[in-house]
Symmetry: C2
Subunit: 456 residues, 2 copies
């Protein structure tokens, strides 16, 4: 980067909020995926106006810009593959308003999901999207990847709560799009176009979301299945019965035994799958639902169904699910959490395919799944410094994604495309879809400076 | 249109399914809005392949193409403003598959919403979007306008159920986009871009939707409010209490007295607003909800709360709401149903503004509203042959839309932009949003042949 351009950028945000020191550039060269690339400079803007000024300079000089929230991205979205500017939005972390009467709130992109949950929870409200990284991930990152979480089966994903955005475009112009609670029939759906676009179409600087009333009560069940197919059948039967659980999560035996070896939670050694089922809502409606779910689980050959008696017990049931990523990550130097979807009825078949690919290539892979909506996360553990092993991992994961598509699924449920699947995207999107994708990208970012190397 | 082009188009679909007879062109020159324009030819394709061939010819010859479903559009979306081809998709009316296990179905665009509801209902499933025109409107039209309906407050709009589309692009290429049940993190959200684009970006030839389990029971309440503000407050309080009604509809006194004069349903003469509240779900959960709703309604000064004892009584409570459009349309030669949204808490203020505009310009306007999500439909009755009256109507409605935006709302909740609001769109979308809209339109329809004269 030319030094006069660098100086101009530093003048925009002030020397306190810009750095090109090598150690800082390294710190902003990677996210939770395995790749890295050094940016030339890292900027910490505070306002939409500053972001706009940065983009005007970047546009004029054709400098790449990669936005970054908490960088918990699992697919490499926040890695500045072509160098240039990293726009670290972590200091734009203010909750601007919570309108309890109209169930909406406005936040800056750097607000942490958990902080926002806490703030709206105090007012008796709920913002449902809660990705597993919710303690640290940012609302802006959630929008850019259209993040989900365990509650998706009942409540949907980030875009279902997104009703307005302020976006700084590639040329520095500021786009303001808003909807009202639920409905909008006015023009192209730009909010949903930016949601999930992984920073390739604009920099999000303000987010308006809708909220729902916090459910008054919650109940949690754990069911142990000796046979994986039975657990998949139970999932389909629960949803088919008309009950909409607020979470419906599956752990396979690779994850179960890793968690048990590490955390000693008393998980059974003799099962192929554990289902966690949560229902929420009006207190009086939960007992009958729990009874019906217990019947479905038992009818599908669960050997054990444990209902939490209180919040503490429910939390302990969830511990195994929450521990999965960290426990698996302790087995080997590298852990990658893959992400694919299949129709719910194909989930057991898909997990079998994961198992076969793991065995065929000698790779260790456990599976956790948001079973209620067919979104599975194979957890692949390996050592990224071992090139031969990395190759085997790549073969296994490519097989897994081809299988997911063959079973009627998609390449990603919630982690996005980023770097990890840029090469695979053409498997899902045919040349026409890629041409449309390119036309949109070209229209909004004609110089290709926004998060280059991703998507296209 | 050149006769050789016309002959080529007729060859594509066959002479049986093409017409340029004057009486047919007139029949396809208008929809449920007040404007009309003659097409040069009307084609009735049966397959995606035929639509693709038509578009290839139209693209080469730069001929305008306007797609048409049942033409129940209330904003003029189906009027071929620049002539050319009307693609009548009404004969592409097959339900291609219903996958009850995975809660999804594939339909052609000409399938009637009610026929689809009936087919999935037989399997214990529900497709929630049910616009008031559901007996005759088409699924393709629902997607093009992102149609809503009374159930939106609980279930969302068409796009919330849309998980895949086959779209023929302007150049005749066929785009296939699909998601899985709920989740997809793979590429730009093209399904939601086409949804609500009113035929300006492509011709939809196949639609994949998700379904939900049909609720086991439904309860309906009617509440009479002497004071309009109180009914608005009751709406906010019901939603604030954590109950999510499956419908929450408001009728104002202009509509109430028109319905009563015509249909003699025993509606009260002394109220400013009637609320209809419906809840659905597990039978055991409904009684407590109904009790709590009754308490909220009474606490907000409803003078009368009537709970339907059975389905027949519930249907009779809904009759007034259903009759609104037809009853109002009998008052004067022309009826236009306007469509705006405001935040729920501003709904009473908005209805007051409608009243003021009506009085100021001497125009008769009644209001029905999907109150639960702040979507109101002013029903304007007048005589479109009376130019002076039409001018007064235009002044009143423009005032109404400016007011809706001033109160934090949008120009349309569910009817779309079409012709009726093309001029108003710049009120909601600033020059940057219009530029982005144009960039997308230009990228996907560079010759501007898809439904020209709309949006841009």
């Amino acid at each position: 980067m030319r030094s006069d351009v660098k100086s101009e950028l530093i003048r925009i945000v002030g020397a306190q909020r810009a750095t090109d020191r090598p150690e800082d550039r390294v710190a902003y060269s990677y996210d939770a995926y395995t790749r890295e690339h050094l940016p030339d400079i890292v900027l910490f803007p505070l306002t939409t106006r500053e972001v706009s000024a940065v983009m005007k300079t970047a546009f004029r000089e054709s400098v790449p810009v990669t936005a970054r929230g908490s960088a918990t991205n699992l697919a490499g979205e926040a890695v500045p593959l072509r160098g240039g500017i990293v726009l670290a939005l972590s200091r734009m972390d203010r909750i601007l308003s919570i309108d309890a009467e109209n169930f909406r709130a406005v936040v800056q992109p750097g607000v942490i999901n958990h902080d926002f949950q806490t703030a709206v929870g105090r007012l008796g409200l709920l913002y449902p999207p809660d990705p597993s990284s919710w303690m640290v991930c940012s609302m802006g990152g959630n929008v850019c990847t259209n993040a989900g979480g365990p509650k998706t089966v009942k409540y949907g994903v980030t875009r279902d709560y997104l009703i307005g955005l302020t976006v700084v475009l590639a040329n520095g112009e500021v786009l303001d799009v808003r909807e009202t609670h639920f409905r909008n029939g006015s023009g192209y759906n730009l909010t949903h176009l930016f949601c999930g676009s992984e920073g390739t179409l604009g920099i999000i600087t303000e987010i308006t979301v809708r909220l729902v009333a916090k459910p008054k009560a919650t109940r949690t069940l754990r069911a142990d299945f000796p046979n994986l197919e039975d657990s998949g059948k139970a999932v389909a039967d629960i949803i088919g019965s008309g009950i909409v659980p607020s979470a419906l999560e599956l752990l396979d035996d690779v994850v179960i035994s890793a968690v048990e070896a590490d955390a000693h939670l008393g998980l059974p050694p003799d099962v192929e799958g554990i289902l966690l089922v949560e229902v929420d809502g009006e207190p009086e409606s939960l007992d009958p639902q729990v009874n019906r779910i217990e019947n479905v689980l038992t009818a599908n050959h669960a050997v054990r169904v444990i209902a939490a008696k209180d919040d503490a017990e429910a939390q302990s049931l969830w511990t195994a699910r929450r521990a999965a990523f960290s426990v698996m990550s302790r087995l080997r130097p590298t852990v990658v959490m893959e992400d694919a979807t299949v129709p719910v009825s194909n989930l057991p078949a898909m997990i079998r395919k994961v198992r076969e690919s793991a065995n065929r290539h000698g790779v260790r892979i456990g599976v956790v799944a948001h079973a209620g909506d067919g979104n599975l996360h194979p957890l692949v553990v390996f050592d990224k410094r071992d090139e031969e092993e990395v190759e085997r991992v790549q073969r296994a994961t490519e097989e897994i994604y081809r299988e997911a598509l063959a079973l009627g699924g998609t390449l990603s449920g919630e982690h996005g495309i980023g770097i990890s699947k840029a090469g695979l995207l053409t498997l899902q999107l045919d040349p026409v879809a890629m041409a449309v994708t390119r036309a949109i990208k070209q229209g909004l970012d004609p110089k290709g400076i926004l998060n280059p190397g991703k998507f296209i």
